[in-house]
C-alpha cells in the first residue's frame, strides 16, 4: 500500500533517532535526571547573543516583507556575507553567486547530490560515517561506496580509498571534524586524498566532486584550525549548517558553497538552485537567513564542550575503555567491551545509559556518545558506567 522501499528501511532506521526517542520515553518513566542520554547531537546550549539580538532586531524592527519568498538560492545580501567569510578563510575568490542557502546541511547534501548524480553513480564515504548519507545518495539515484575504517587513528584509510575509485565515482564526502569519532583529519591526509583524486580523474577522464559536510568545523579544541577544503580541492562543494555552531538544529538553516574553480560553475549553481526548489525545500527559512548573516562570526561557547570532552574522556578511559581523544565535534567513539556493539548498547540501557552502536555508523564494535549535554548529566552518569563495566569483568 505504501512505498516498499521506505517500509523496509523503517525497520533498520536510525539508531540515533531510536535512542533519542527511547531517551524521551525513559525520561517520562524515571525522570529526566535519572536518564543519561548520550544519543543525539542536539546541542543543549542556547544560541549565542548575536543570534538572539538579531532575532529581536528583525522581529521588533517591524521590517516589511521579511517572511516572503525570495530567490530559491536565498537572499543576495546573505549569500554575499557567506561568500566573503569563506573567501577570507580559503583565499579562493567567491561571490554570492557561489552560494545557495539551504534547509540545513541535510537539505544541502540532498540538493548537491540531486544536482550532480546520474543513475548508478557512486559517492565514496569513509567509515565510520553518518549513515544518513546512504539515504541521501539513494534518494537521488546514486549509491554510497564505503571505505573501511582505520580503527587505529580513525583518519581516512588512504589505500582502501584509492582502490574504491572507479569510472562510476562521482563524489566523495568528507566530514571533518568527524561524526562519530570527533577526529580531525590532518592536512597531510587531505593532501594525499587530493593527489589520488587528481590522478584518478585523469586515469578515468572523470570529475570527482569533494563534498565537505562540515557542521562541526567551528567546534574544535586547542586552537586547531581546520583547513578550508576550497583551498585543497579543485572541485570542492562545501555544505554547512548552523545547527551545531549556533545551536540552531531545529531551525534548519545552512548553505552550499561551490568553488569558483569548478568548470561551468554557473550551470552548477543554476542546478543547485533548481533542485533546492524542486526537491520541495523552495528556499532556506527566510528569517533565519537574516539571523545567521548577523551571526557568521559567532559560535556557542566551545570551552563548555572542551570541559565535557576532557572530563568524559578521562573518566571513560580510566574505566578501561579504548578511545581516540577527539579534537573536535562533541562525540566520543570508544570501543565496546564486547564485539557485539548492539548487544553492548542494549545492556547499557539497563542503567538508563543511552549510547549509539557503532554499527549505526558503518563501524561495528564501537559506540558513540554525544556529550553536547548538561555537565551534571555527565557527572551523574559515571556511576552507571561503573556498573556497566562491572558486568563485563
Amino acid at each position: 500500500m505504501f512505498s516498499e522501499k521506505v517500509i523496509n528501511n523503517l525497520s533498520n532506521s536510525s539508531w540515533i533517532r531510536l535512542m533519542f526517542e527511547e531517551g524521551e520515553r525513559l525520561a517520562k518513566i524515571h525522570g529526566a535526571d535519572k536518564v543519561y542520554d548520550y544519543s543525539i547531537g542536539n546541542p543543549y546550549a542556547e544560541p549565542p547573543k548575536e543570534v538572539t539580538d538579531s532575532l529581536k532586531k528583525h522581529i521588533l524592527g517591524e521590517e516589511k516583507g521579511i517572511h516572503r519568498y525570495m530567490s530559491n538560492a536565498g537572499y543576495v545580501d546573505v549569500r554575499e556575507k557567506v561568500a566573503k567569510l569563506l573567501q577570507e578563510e580559503s583565499g579562493v575568490e567567491l561571490s554570492y553567486n557561489n552560494i545557495v542557502m539551504t534547509v540545513g546541511a541535510a537539505g544541502g547534501l540532498n540538493v548537491v547530490l540531486k544536482s550532480i548524480l546520474n543513475p548508478e553513480e557512486e559517492v565514496i564515504v569513509f567509515a565510520p560515517y553518518f549513515v544518513e548519507y546512504n539515504f541521501y545518495a539513494d534518494n537521488n539515484g546514486g549509491k554510497t561506496v564505503v571505505v573501511p575504517p582505520d580503527t587505529k587513528t580513525f583518519e581516512p584509510n588512504i589505500e582502501a580509498f584509492e582502490k574504491s575509485i572507479n569510472n562510476k565515482t562521482k563524489a566523495i564526502i568528507i566530514n571533518n571534524p568527524n561524526n562519530p569519532t570527533g577526529v580531525v583529519y590532518s592536512e597531510a591526509t587531505l593532501n594525499k586524498i587530493a593527489s589520488i583524486i587528481e590522478a584518478k580523474e585523469k586515469e578515468y577522464g572523470i570529475t570527482i566532486f569533494v563534498i565537505s559536510d562540515e557542521p562541526y568545523k567551528e567546534i574544535v579544541y586547542e586552537n586547531i584550525k581546520i583547513p578550508s577544503l576550497l583551498s585543497i580541492f579543485k572541485n570542492a562543494i562545501i555544505v554547512n549548517s548552523f545547527s551545531k555552531s549556533l545551536g540552531l538544529a531545529g531551525e534548519r538553516i545552512g548553505y552550499i558553497a561551490a568553488s569558483s574553480k569548478i568548470e561551468q560553475i554557473d550551470l552548477l549553481i543554476g542546478a543547485l538552485s533548481f533542485c533546492n526548489r524542486t526537491l520541495g525545500f523552495v528556499n532556506a527559512p527566510a528569517l533565519f537567513q537574516k539571523v545567521i548573516a548577523d551571526s557568521l562570526k559567532a559560535k556557542v561557547d566551545i570551552g563548555e564542550y572542551e570541559k565535557r570532552r576532557d572530563f568524559l574522556y578521562e573518566k571513560i578511559t580510566s574505566l578501561g575503555f579504548e578511545c581516540v581523544k577527539p579534537q573536535g565535534a562533541f562525540y566520543l567513539f570508544p570501543k565496546a567491551l564486547i564485539e557485539d556493539d548492539v548487544e553492548f548498547v542494549k545492556r547499557a540501557m539497563k542503567y538508563n545509559l543511552l549510547l549509539v552502536p557503532g554499527s549505526g555508523f558503518g563501524c561495528p564494535g564501537y559506540f558513540r556518545m554525544s556529550y553536547c549535554v548538561k555537565f551534571d548529566m555527565i557527572e551523574n552518569s559515571i556511576q552507571a558506567f561503573e556498573k556497566l563495566v562491572e558486568e563485563f569483568k
Copy 2:
C-alpha cells in the same frame, strides 16, 4: 559532469520563477513602480498580528531550548493543536499522531509521495495544475498523469478522470481552491470523484490516496466554505502550508494530516516521519511550528484580496478577456488573445506586464495573473493592458 536530467530540466524550468526573476530585473532598470509583476504567488501582505505577537512572545520570553531538534514529526503540542482544528472542521477523529509538521506544502508533498510511491506508479493531476507536481512525482520514482482541462468551468473533467485510472494509479492530487484558476471545486464534483475512486479501487484491488494540496483553503470569497476532504475521501492526506494564509511563504512551514480511516495509519505516519528525516528536511523549522500553533485561526485580510479580485476581474473582462470569476486563491486565469500563450506573454512584457503562460500549468492558450500585490500596482497596470489589447485589435 552534472545530473543530465536536472540540466535538461533547467531549460524548461518554472515559468513562474522565470517571470519572477525577470520582474526583479526589470524593476532595477525601470523602477519597481513601472513594472507590473503578476508572476508569483508571493503575498505582499504582512503576517497578521497573531503571528507577530507569537514571534515576540517566543523571542522575548527567553524560552529555553526552542531552537533544538525535536521528533522528526514535529512538536507534539503543535501537532495536537493542528489535529484538534482539523477534527473540528471535518468531524473525523484525529490526534497528534495523524500529523507531521513539514517544510511548507512543497516539502510535505515530497514526503507524502516518497512514502507511498513504488517505481512507475502514477499520480493523477487535473489540468490546469501546479507543474511542480511533475518534479515531485519524478523525484520519488513516480509519474504524473494529466487529466485534460474542462475550459468551460475549470472544474475537474470527470469523464477524462475516470479513464485515466488504471492498476498503476496510486494517488490523485486535488488543489482546491485551484492554482492557477482560483476556481473552487463544488462538493458535488468532489463526491463524484469519490464514487469513481471507490469503484476503481474495487475494480483493480488497489488503494488510491487523495492528496489535498490546500494552501489556498483559507482564501475564499463570499463566505464560501471549502468542504474538508477528510470527510469526503477515506484515504485522504491533507498537505497544507501557512505561506498564503499567514503570509509566511519564505519561512517554509506546513503540515501533513493523514486520515485515521487509512488502513495501517500508524505505519504511514512512521513512513512520513522517516521520509521527512531522510529527504533532508529533518523537521519543520522549530520556531515557526510554535508560531503557527499560536495563529491557527488567524489569516491575512481576505477582504483586501477580494477587493483586488473584483477590481481586476471587472477591468480584465471589460477589456474583452474571457475569464472565469474565481471564488478563491488570488489568481485570475484569462484566455490569451492569441492561441500561442507564450508569444502573448512575451508581447505583454513590452509593456512591463509580467504574466505566466498557461502552458506552465498544462493549459496552453491561457495566462495566469497573481493579484496578491499592491493595489496601486493593479490600478497602474490597466493602461498597460489597454495598450496590449490594442495590439491585437
